[in-house]
């Protein structure tokens, strides 16, 4: 089944007098349970692509079908709902609420989904156990290491059972060993049937994906499937 269907998507900005074409006719499809790395240098348009794919931004033209729903024309409120139910975000700088416990951070998407308090607790605890932080439910971000914070963010991303995980440079603030641990976690989730889209500029991180899309000047210059390198033995 196709999760993402992008058809001739463009995004133009007006910067003073000049028009910037951040995305210039991008088309591609993503099937269920793919692990895709989107690569490109800064200014290539990969961040804009990420924002459009994450329903944080609307394309100027073109069609974007996410999980069978045309989302390129939705308003702010509806886009928020799509993000809430279909997408889980993981950011480079973790983006956890400070002075808020791990479990409350994970609960956040469920709060906006209108899930009751008890069920919210239970599901969030399960998600934290899933990422290996079952014993740190009440720790605040400042009491956790970078890798642990990123795991909390991943738990938050998966807690509302999305179809798609969007990770924007998830290892950018982590050392190489922790990076591999986090990539292993992504591969596990992928193994469980989640579709993962990862934006990175590091070629060795992209090696863990099953497909690499390279973006340059707002266009896709290469789109190749590959055999994913295992981050951990026993995972594929």
């Amino acid at each position: 089944m196709s999760i993402i269907e992008l058809t001739d998507v463009t995004k133009r900005y007006q910067l003073g007098d000049t028009e910037v074409r951040a995305l210039d006719g991008v088309s591609f499809g993503v099937d269920e349970a793919e692990f895709i790395a989107i690569m490109g240098s800064s200014g290539s348009g990969k961040s804009t692509l990420m924002n459009v794919l994450g329903c944080l931004d609307r394309p100027t033209s073109g069609k974007y079908v996410l999980a069978g729903r045309e989302v390129s024309t939705l308003d702010k409120g509806d886009l928020a709902e799509v993000r809430n139910r279909t997408i889980g975000f993981v950011f480079q700088s973790f983006n956890l609420l400070s002075r808020t416990s791990a479990i409350e951070n994970v609960e956040l998407p469920l709060v906006y989904a209108g899930v009751g308090r008890k069920e919210r607790r239970a599901r969030s605890a399960r998600a934290l156990e899933r990422v290996g932080l079952g014993t740190r439910l009440d720790h605040q971000p400042s009491q956790l290491s970078g890798g642990q914070q990123q795991r909390v963010a991943i738990a938050r991303a998966i807690v509302n059972q999305p179809t798609l995980i969007l990770a924007d440079e998830p290892t950018g603030n982590l050392d190489s060993k922790t990076s591999i641990d986090v990539m292993a976690l992504f591969q596990e989730l992928w193994g469980e049937g989640l579709t993962i889209l990862l934006v990175t500029h590091e070629p060795d991180i992209a090696e863990y994906a099953s497909r690499v899309i390279v973006v340059k000047d707002g266009k896709i210059t290469s789109d190749q499937k590959q055999t994913a390198r295992r981050a951990k033995e026993g995972v594929s």
Binding site: A80, Y112, N160
Partner: protein, 409 residues
């Protein structure tokens, strides 16, 4: 996601910056407290003025005779008797806006009891007088028509006179007192009435039939009414009509040419009371206006802090939006925060205001009137202030672009 779920989020955000929240709410606390205490003080002033004027009499007018002129020195109203007993009867019968009229002949006389004496104001009058001047009977009886007709030597005493002559809690009715060596039987004692607007003791007075007063105390000048006529109009809004009716009747009876001055004077005390009340009302509204301004200033303080809070928490807003918060979720979150601040401030303000008002009332001996509607209104108003001044920052938060908000450092 409903409002009830927003409340704990707002509370937690406020508790995170306890000092700041407290100081912000303090503006509203002071605003509401000043509204409550200022209005309470104003209302207290109003009610004491009302009480004072109610004790003077109901819808009261006083008719005084003209002034004497000797060698260019004007004697002032009442110094020359121009009012006659026929004038009184004419006022009683010919003026439709007049409910009752009674003579009031005053003099200071020493009242002698069994083993004490007391110099007091003795008034010769008729039974209507007590109704006109709002005197209530304590015990015994008031003067009757037959007392006036036959000139009985009976007397009705005010409470102060009773206290002075017989001591407190002594039954005075039935005892005899002497005025100018003439024995009078005490037939009634009046309820305590308190002080006049000028600080005079109303209860330091005694009343005897007007006929007895003329015959035994005053002597002479039988044609003229050597005192004043007190008049009660049929209703409070009829006092002006009663006044002009009385003026018409008296000018006509005294044959005063159309351009000549009155040889009498009609005082409309209800009008004076209304003017006084208007004064205290103006004072109350002035105090309330000042207090409301301080409440508004408190509201601006809330807006200021909410704006700071929104820009400080831009990243938090971005995170919330990314995981699925709709603009109205963010809007309500910040609105509820502003409202919680202002309502908490409002409630604390009610407590502080009540405390300040009652302390002031106690210390300064002012009357204190707490109006529950003002409490409700000022708490409601502080909630409205919270919404009104919280709306702009909240809207600013809700309209943030999630991408920019997430990137905000």
């Amino acid at each position: 996601m409903n409002l009830l779920q927003t409340l704990p989020i707002a509370m937690r955000a406020l508790l995170r910056n306890k000092t700041r929240s407290f100081l912000t709410a303090l503006g509203v606390v002071i605003g509401v407290a000043s509204v409550i205490s200022m209005v309470a003080i104003g209302e207290g002033a109003k009610s004491s003025v009302e009480k004072v004027f109610a004790s003077m009499g109901t819808n009261l007018l006083i008719v005084l005779s003209g002034s004497t002129t000797s060698g260019g020195v004007m004697g002032g109203f009442g110094s020359m008797p121009t009012l006659t007993w026929d004038d009184l009867r004419a006022i009683q019968t010919e003026a439709p806006a007049v409910r009752a009229a009674a003579p009031q002949l005053n003099t200071r006389v020493s009242v002698v009891g069994e083993d004490a004496n007391w110099n007091t104001q003795v008034t010769g009058t008729t039974p209507e007088y007590f109704m006109i001047r709002s005197w209530k009977l304590g015990h015994g009886a008031l003067l009757s028509e037959s007392d006036v007709e036959t000139g009985n030597k009976v007397i009705v005493l005010g409470q102060t006179v009773v206290d002075r002559l017989f001591g407190p809690n002594v039954e005075a009715v039935g005892r005899t007192v002497r005025l100018r060596a003439i024995p009078f039987v005490v037939i009634g004692v009046l309820d305590r009435k308190g002080q006049s607007p000028m600080g005079q003791d109303y209860d330091d007075s005694a009343f005897i039939p007007v006929s007895t007063f003329q015959a035994k105390i005053q002597g002479g000048l039988q044609k003229y009414l050597a005192g004043a006529i007190v008049v009660s109009a049929v209703a409070a809004d009829q006092t002006n009509r009663a006044q002009s009716e009385i003026q018409g009747i008296l000018r006509d009876r005294h044959h005063i040419a159309s351009r000549a001055d009155d040889d009498f004077n009609v005082r409309n005390l209800t009008e004076i009371a209304a003017a006084q009340q208007q004064g205290t009302k103006t004072l109350t509204s002035l105090l309330a206006a000042i207090a409301i301004v301080s409440l508004l200033v408190g509201g601006i303080g809330i807006m200021n802090i909410m704006l700071v809070s929104v820009s400080e928490r831009t990243r938090e807003i971005g995170i919330r939006m990314a995981v699925g918060a709709k603009p109205w979720h963010i809007l309500t979150q910040f609105l509820v925060e502003a409202m919680t601040l202002s309502m908490m401030g409002g409630l604390a303000g009610v407590m502080l205001g009540t405390f300040v008002a009652s302390t002031l009332a106690q210390q300064l001996g002012w009357a204190l009137v707490m109006r529950p509607d003002i409490v409700v209104v000022s708490v409601g108003f502080s909630a409205v202030v919270g919404i009104a001044f919280g709306l702009y920052p909240a809207q600013k938060a809700a309209q943030l672009d999630p991408i920019d908000a997430l990137r905000y450092e």
